[in-house]
Symmetry: C2
Subunit: 271 residues, 2 copies
């Protein structure tokens, strides 16, 4: 298990950690309000990263016991620190690879997975592995974005080009930045029943400054984070990059609008 060298398209810098926490707090209501686990149940959070979602999960379900795993030791250190600062006590952490989860079959009552599948070369295998350690009748929840959903005004070819750079880069690293639209078939293919997908749209215009800030600090910051790699790999030239990013920022000003869709999906393991 090569925690620090495991490829992750966004990197694991301080700025990135901050971005992820901001993301979690801004999108919390939209993405997580309907995830609540009953007291006494055991929940696996697969790929907790720096703990951005862990805090929300644990707060929404104070009686549940969470086991949050991540492949990166560095991220786990940040996650532990954050949870401790927030005085949350119903979470334990463990270093683990989502393809080789160190738990006995049917260990968990529920499993929660957020922004993981998009980074995996074989998402279906990881879902199948998770299913093994889920008890019959237990639920699994996934949340993923889909960069193909980015819709903005003023529209701009260059802005689409810089977004496509992230899509391509993620694909080269074995991931899939367009995975939101695929949750239905992935969860169904893994043999879950009662699969339900619910799209969640984030929309920003001048009347919604908190969302406009979110677009800048979450989406555009994420794009900006891959500039060096995108240019180095010849996916884009410097001039187009700068124009594309400028055009993205333009969508957060006065008459601009920006929307993006996340997909949340749940399934049940047959009893």
């Amino acid at each position: 298990m090569n925690s620090l060298h495991e490829p992750y398209v966004h990197g694991r810098s301080d700025r990135e950690a901050e971005r992820l926490h901001f993301q979690a707090s801004k999108l919390a209501e939209l993405l997580h309000h309907d995830t609540c686990y009953p007291p006494g149940c055991r929940v696996l959070e697969a790929a907790c990263g720096v703990g951005a979602q862990t805090i929300l999960l644990a707060r929404n379900s104070p009686g549940a016991e969470f086991v949050s795993v991540d492949i990166s030791r560095e991220s786990l250190i940040r996650a532990k620190q954050r949870v401790s600062e927030e005085e949350i006590t119903n979470v334990t952490f463990r270093q683990a690879d989502v393809y080789h989860l160190p738990f006995r079959p049917e260990t968990f009552d529920h499993i929660f997975v957020c922004f993981l599948l998009e980074h995996l070369p074989d998402p279906l295998l990881s879902i199948t592995r998770m299913k093994e350690i889920l008890r019959p009748g237990g639920s699994i929840t996934f949340i993923e974005g889909d960069h193909g959903s980015a819709l903005f005004f003023p529209d701009s070819r260059d802005a689409h080009t810089v977004i496509d750079c992230l899509v391509q880069l993620q694909r080269e690293m074995g991931g899939n930045a367009l995975i939101g639209r695929e949750l239905w078939h992935l969860i169904t293919d893994a043999g879950f029943i009662k699969v339900a997908v619910s799209p969640r749209i984030v929309y920003a215009d001048e009347s919604r400054p908190e969302y406009t800030e979110g677009v800048k600090n979450i989406f555009i910051a994420m794009i900006e984070g891959i500039r060096e790699q995108a240019v180095a790999r010849g996916l884009v030239d410097n001039e187009t990059w700068e124009k594309g990013v400028r055009d993205l920022y333009r969508t957060t000003e006065k008459d601009g609008t920006f929307s993006y869709t996340f997909f949340k999906a749940t399934g049940k393991k047959k009893s």
Copy 2:
């Protein structure tokens, strides 16, 4: 006023009329559930077409008085017939052009406009004209789609090509099939206050057969309706067209998914 020759990208055939009614019934809950006018108020429905939305509007607000206008005499005949069949009595119809509305200033308490702006060469002018006949403090509501929001699995370049044909054709006719994302600035530019835009996403997969049917009967049928024009104008060749439409249908089968976003916006005229 050249009602029967006024260009309308989708045409005014029987099949089209049926498509529009189907559309209204399937999307009704999503788009219209939060539009309700108090008893006694006077509401203009601008561009009622064949009355697909008229019925829903009138039923949701049985105490309000609707005046529904359209430029097409042929559409108005169908709309009247439909309203009469449904035994709805709080609607009167009038033939009128949305750029030259034959009403005195401040005649209406509220104005409702659905799927109109996308077809207009000058949407801002029409909004400004509507504002004149709205009383101070009155509300205006717009609902528009945005074909750039179509997101589907399996993804397909040819499917995007056939959608782009409609976007281009509509642009050539002076319209804008990507107008949903622009409602914010259009309504704001027209001087309305308290402008609020709310995106409404339609999502279809195998677990939602009614939505899958909607994708076929509304969205794909709309695309299929422009084949002749698109091919005649050289926007696409026959082979790509057929592949693109087949790929769109493919998104409504087994592991496929399809989503589309409508934008609903409201504004208030300053008191």
